[in-house]
Symmetry: C2
């Protein structure tokens, strides 16, 4: 592996043009699009239009004139080809945490005779914390087991199985359809967290048959820091399911302001409060960066980048140990490498403009957001990693406060 | 009353300078700042800085470098003088609906021997819908009674009393301290919705002794469409209260990503998901419009505007019947007038650039956002109202779809 080889791969990359849809600092090797996607080049103007024209000039009338009231559905429709769902099965709203709470509560209400929420004990913390709280509030119980034990823990006590498809640390990928079938075989509802999948790999929600999913807007979807999240409820189930956080925006006729809550038909019933319009404008710019891209090609690009990085690290930084699955089909679009000085190494890399992140207890995480990452970036990061480790540069690395949003 | 008199009042208005903090269309008479506050002149640049510099250039490092991680508390601190609270009692997060859900759930958990949530049956719909759902999920019961019956309904079965201080329709104001004392006398927790109070009238949360409050960011606080909402929990109670939607951002050490949820000390435990950074930037610009303004002066301005409008309507549009309290001390900063053709009249006014809104069943609502409304606006609106009613202009008014966010 060499810089020349990386550049040749970039030159031959059929997705290389997608990077031109973004604006980014030239002095950084950014391998953290799995935490915060780069800024779409259209985002500043898109947000400015909403702020200056729609809010500043249109004022309250923009709820109608600019169609703000429909944005949670309209913008979600742009996600449909990215996650393999139908537009009327998707909604953009709230945070991932809140959406997990909504759908878990909804699932528990739909399985009144079952009270167990099953999760992977190593899943992303917010999923587990929220699941524990919602299960308890429903008079139920959280069962958190190891990734390997999920299958055996699927019994007819389980109301809902909540899982991230791609693990936020290891990057290990679950088979969407097979796992969904496992859950459904025992009558449990499948709720996927696709935060580390959507926009990174090919996701076929409709094909999988999963009942529910949620995901984050600010990672591979490039929606901006703290972007609104999304949720999915399979079309045939929507009418039977309730929203346990029923706000006025999910009402069938929100502006009648009647005495009782009447859920809107379809997916809109999962709305709660007033849509976050300015943030939605940024998210729309993010989703537009996928326009015309096939998700199979997107996944292939991520796999090729990660494979190249694994090879480069083997040669340039052999002390770093791959702690993600070796086969691309078993991974999302990020990799972790273990090293006992992982934290300090990541700090030293950041000081050199190579941006990855650290995950407890000893993991260096590098993301290969397929729309924005070049093979050259992968090579530069591997080379920097090798230099930092070989030169023990990390020994002088500043021990900065550990406050990064994943 | 005359246009000259209105202009003289504007010339003598000690708060007139505050209007210069906003940018707005010159061709509108905007009396809907109670629904969506005008755009602060600083908002476009403030939002652009967050999008282009902090996100576009700083990328993931902005969580530290731009301090994003602290924005929910830092920006909430700007609200402290507006609502008479201490900075460490406030947090900006989620929507008003979600924050009501959080604090109601928290209150019910803190009063395990009581299961009744008491509300005003005419309160804003989202408050009642959410309260009904949360009460039911906690094995309890919603009691919705008329405004007049609240006092009698306060029994030792009531866990929490949820009330809007200022009614979204009538504008009727409740005494914060007296009502709080009534609730506390029977051992109930007082949860205020200050959506129609904060930024409109003087609010002294600390003095009132109320346990909890929530409010909206996009009305009088000028935070932009669907702006993040806020919540208040009295300082001495924070350590004892839990967040029923415990996401990773409310964890004591969110980046350790440990197995169990450990609530952050203080108000931060009421965070759930990742903070909506772009929306928070706009909200900060909104809160900055209050810089240096005394809330007593803000309230006095709103009262003077509304009093002037009442007088002008009496003279210019006598067919419209005031349906808000006559005394300024009994009101927030908006007024409603009844007319059997209210909906069509509001449409005809909007067609003339006079922006108020309609509320079921027969109410025309006009807001006097004290930082942005001029006496001239009040006069123009009253004159237009008189012309529309006298000339039966409303008979030709387009019956547009009723979709406006309050």
């Amino acid at each position: 592996v060499s810089l020349d080889q990386a550049r040749a791969l970039d030159a031959a990359d059929p997705l290389a043009f997608a990077r031109e849809r973004f604006r980014f600092p030239d002095d950084k090797t950014y391998l953290d699009g799995n935490s915060l996607g780069m800024m779409p080049a259209s985002a500043p103007e898109r947000v400015a239009r909403t702020v200056e024209r729609e809010w500043g000039e249109g004022l309250i009338e923009s709820w109608n004139e600019a169609g703000w009231i429909d944005w949670p559905e309209r913008i979600a429709a742009r996600l449909a080809p990215i996650v393999g769902a139908r537009a009327d099965e998707l909604l953009v709203c709230d945070s991932t945490s809140i959406n997990i709470a909504k759908l878990l509560g909804s699932a528990l209400a739909a399985r009144p005779e079952r009270r167990v929420v099953l999760v992977d004990e190593s899943d992303f913390p917010t999923d587990r914390y929220i699941a524990a709280a919602i299960a308890e509030q429903a008079g139920g119980e959280l069962r958190a087991v190891s990734a390997e034990a999920i299958s055996d823990a699927l019994t007819d006590e389980v109301a809902v199985l909540l899982l991230s498809q791609v693990d936020y640390r290891s990057g290990r990928r679950r088979d969407l359809s097979a796992t969904t079938a496992d859950a459904q075989r025992v009558g449990a509802i499948m709720l996927w967290d696709l935060s580390h999948s959507a926009g990174a790999i090919r996701v076929d929600l409709a094909t999988s048959g999963a009942e529910m999913a949620v995901g984050c807007g600010y990672k591979y979807l490039n929606g901006g820091p703290g972007a609104p999240a999304w949720l999915y409820v399979r079309r045939d189930l929507q009418q039977a399911l309730g929203n346990p956080l029923p706000g006025w925006m999910g009402h069938a006729r929100p502006f009648e302001m009647g005495p009782d809550y009447v859920p809107a038909p379809g997916i809109r019933r999962f709305l709660t409060g007033t849509p976050p319009i300015v943030a939605l404008a940024a998210l729309e710019a993010g989703l537009e960066t996928f326009e015309g891209l096939g998700m199979a090609a997107v996944e292939a690009k991520a796999a090729a980048l990660a494979d190249f990085f694994i090879e480069a690290v083997e040669v340039l930084a052999p002390e770093a140990t791959l702690a993600s699955p070796l086969g691309a089909a078993d991974r999302g679009a990020h990799l972790v490498f273990a090293h006992r000085h992982a934290y300090a190494i990541v700090q030293a890399l950041i000081a050199r403009g190579v941006i990855g992140d650290y995950r407890e207890p000893n993991l260096m995480r590098f993301g290969f957001a397929p729309l924005t990452t070049r093979f050259e970036d992968a090579w530069r990061a591997a080379a920097a990693l090798g230099e930092v480790i070989a030169g023990r540069v990390y020994e002088g690395a500043r021990f900065a406060e550990r406050r990064r949003v994943t």
